[in-house]
């Protein structure tokens, strides 16, 4: 059974432990600006929404990459950026309609969630279980994928 990140924004307190854990895992520094999972603040509603790549089947980033620098990890289903191969052209960053693959100026490469080889640091670090790593059937993954395809029918909410 493949697993995926499940995000429940209702449980997020905005503590940013996930961002700290992600940047530590990937850069050995507590630099939330480098995190691949981002917690978005909604001041009006007083809410926080953690958000990162859903490892979508369409793999917009992977198919758009002109130099074959994004590969599928068959074990986790993650789409992984091969840093030495990435030239930093950023085509993937505009191709991904979710905004979850981003350019890092310091490295000249792009980065995205790679599910930490099947042990996501963000989920481990989350103190309120707003981010969990569970069997895909249990997550809202399909729902999130459907959202991506929404067109005129969706109702925006406040």
């Amino acid at each position: 059974m493949q697993k995926s990140l499940h995000i429940d924004p209702n449980k997020c307190t905005g503590c940013l432990q996930c961002e700290m854990a992600c940047s530590w895992e990937n850069y050995r520094s507590f630099t939330t600006a480098k995190s691949r999972i981002k917690v978005f603040s909604f001041h009006e509603a007083g809410r926080f929404v953690p958000y990162t790549c859903t490892q979508c089947d369409e793999a917009w980033c992977m198919i758009a990459c002109p130099v074959d620098a994004i590969r599928l990890d068959p074990a986790t289903g993650a789409k992984i950026v091969l840093e030495p191969t990435c030239v930093g052209c950023k085509v993937c960053t505009i191709a991904c309609p979710f905004g979850t693959i981003n350019y890092v100026a310091q490295t000249g490469k792009v980065q995205k969630c790679d599910l930490c080889d099947g042990a996501p640091a963000c989920a481990k670090a989350c103190p309120t279980a707003a981010i969990t790593y569970v069997d895909s059937d249990w997550t809202g993954l399909d729902k999130m994928r459907q959202w991506a395809g929404k067109t005129d029918t969706n109702q925006a909410t406040a």
């Binding site: 009006e44 958000y51 002109p66 074959d68 505009i94 991904c96 005129d152 969706n154 909410t157």
Partner: protein, 413 residues
């Protein structure tokens, strides 16, 4: 089933791979117009800059990739298509097909000025062009570049990294005017000038001559610029010449239907040569960008393999790095009649974000210096998502794009 693909750029390669998955028993042949493995023109700027070896430009990195997928590569250019006999003339012999994909891409537009055939005049489009530039461009080499569009801008960093003396001629008043508004374009210009590039707007040459091996670029105002290299980068045109007399209907490109099939059953087109319908305007147009090429290659291949699949329409967008300054454009960045717009501008830090709305939908955007989560602009625009209350919030603070996206697309807030 014999599938023949003309062209080995991103559209052709993705089509071949998709065909193999969808039709395991099919014969798949891909015509490669250039020598060497299929490569990406998008990677050429990084080759010029010395970041990667030539192999780093290859579209697929495994040497046996095509053999493993039983995709036969034939190094040849198509000379003519016989749609009745179902064969393609490749000069001296012809290849039969059951399904044909035309994915021949673009070539640099040719300037119509005297002297354009002189030695020292060249384009920067193919890997052979890049090799020639790498061989010639040394510290102090005088390069006069005509054009500051996408290609003209993306190669500047590689050229400057070689220490050349670069002068850029721009026919219009704006750089990258096909993807950037005047404000964004102005930021790019001042950024380039601050890095030592000379930019002459409202300028184009009247002719080229050669004196003692040095090109003389004559301008309309009487000025003459000496140049070791004249780099012509005035845009691209689709490769369609070989289709003359084929019966395939052409406009600016190959006119295709929602399945990316031409007027001739069994003949499809993808990438720069395909004139498909725009998903926002409903108008037919060319859309010569990498993500469009791969998506069309994939959809055309599914249809060729007998799996009817509709192309949901071209989406116009692009991302450009000009001497390290990142800019992007999405959809109807020029705005629409009766629409509204909002922007933030910080010229000192070369940051700019402009959003264009129609009702409570985002329809276009231009960015300079913003790179985080820009893909969500595509999601919002192409998905035609209703923004509701987020429209006014974005009008007040355009940088809240990701929050608006999460609210509109995912109903998370």
């Amino acid at each position: 089933m014999r599938h023949l693909i003309i062209g080995s750029g991103p559209a052709g390669v993705v089509a071949a791979e998709t065909l193999r998955k969808a039709d395991p028993a099919a014969e798949i042949t891909m015509l490669c117009g250039e020598a060497g493995p299929p490569y990406s023109r998008m990677a050429i700027p990084y080759l010029l800059r010395g970041d990667i070896p030539e192999a780093g430009t290859h579209l697929r990195k495994d040497a046996d990739h095509y053999a493993r997928l039983r995709i036969q590569l034939v190094q040849a250019s198509a000379k003519a298509v016989d749609a009745v006999a179902r064969k393609v003339d490749i000069g001296g012999r012809s290849l039969p097909y059951d399904r044909l994909l035309i994915a021949t891409g673009s070539r640099p537009s040719r300037e119509q000025i005297p002297g354009i055939d002189l030695p020292g005049v060249q384009a920067c489009w193919t890997i052979a062009d890049a090799r020639a530039l790498l061989a010639q461009a040394r510290p102090g080499t005088r390069i006069v570049q005509m054009g500051a569009g996408f290609v003209g801008c993306i190669i500047m960093e590689g050229l400057l990294s070689r220490g050349v003396d670069l002068t850029i001629l721009v026919r219009s008043g704006y750089m990258v005017r096909r993807m950037m508004d005047a404000t964004a374009s102005g930021l790019l210009r001042s950024w380039c000038e601050a890095k030592g590039v000379k930019i002459l707007t409202h300028t184009q040459p009247t002719g080229l001559t050669s004196e003692g091996g040095v090109l003389q670029v004559a301008l309309a105002n009487g000025r003459v610029l000496p140049a070791d290299i004249y780099l012509s980068a005035v845009g691209v045109d689709p490769n369609l010449d070989f289709l003359e007399g084929s019966g395939i209907a052409l406009g600016q490109g190959i006119l295709v239907d929602a399945n990316l099939q031409s007027n001739v059953p069994g003949i499809y087109a993808a990438g720069d040569v395909a004139e498909a319908t725009d998903c926002l305007t409903g108008k037919r147009q060319l859309n010569a960008i990498q993500p469009n090429a791969v998506e069309q290659g994939r959809i055309a291949a599914l249809n060729m393999a007998g799996r009817p699949t509709r192309f949901k329409g071209s989406f116009v967008f692009n991302v450009l790095t000009t001497l390290g300054l990142v800019s992007s454009s999405f959809g109807e960045w020029q705005g629409v009649p009766g629409g509204e717009s909002t922007e933030v501008l910080d010229p000192a830090h070369y940051r700019y974000l402009n959003l264009q709305f129609e009702g409570d939908r985002l329809v276009g955007a231009n960015t300079v210096g913003f790179t985080d989560h820009v893909g969500a602009l595509r999601g919002l625009i192409e998905g035609r998502m209703r923004l509701g209350v987020w429209k006014q919030r974005l009008m007040a603070d355009p940088t809240q794009v990701m929050q608006a996206y999460l609210a509109a697309a995912h109903s998370l807030v």
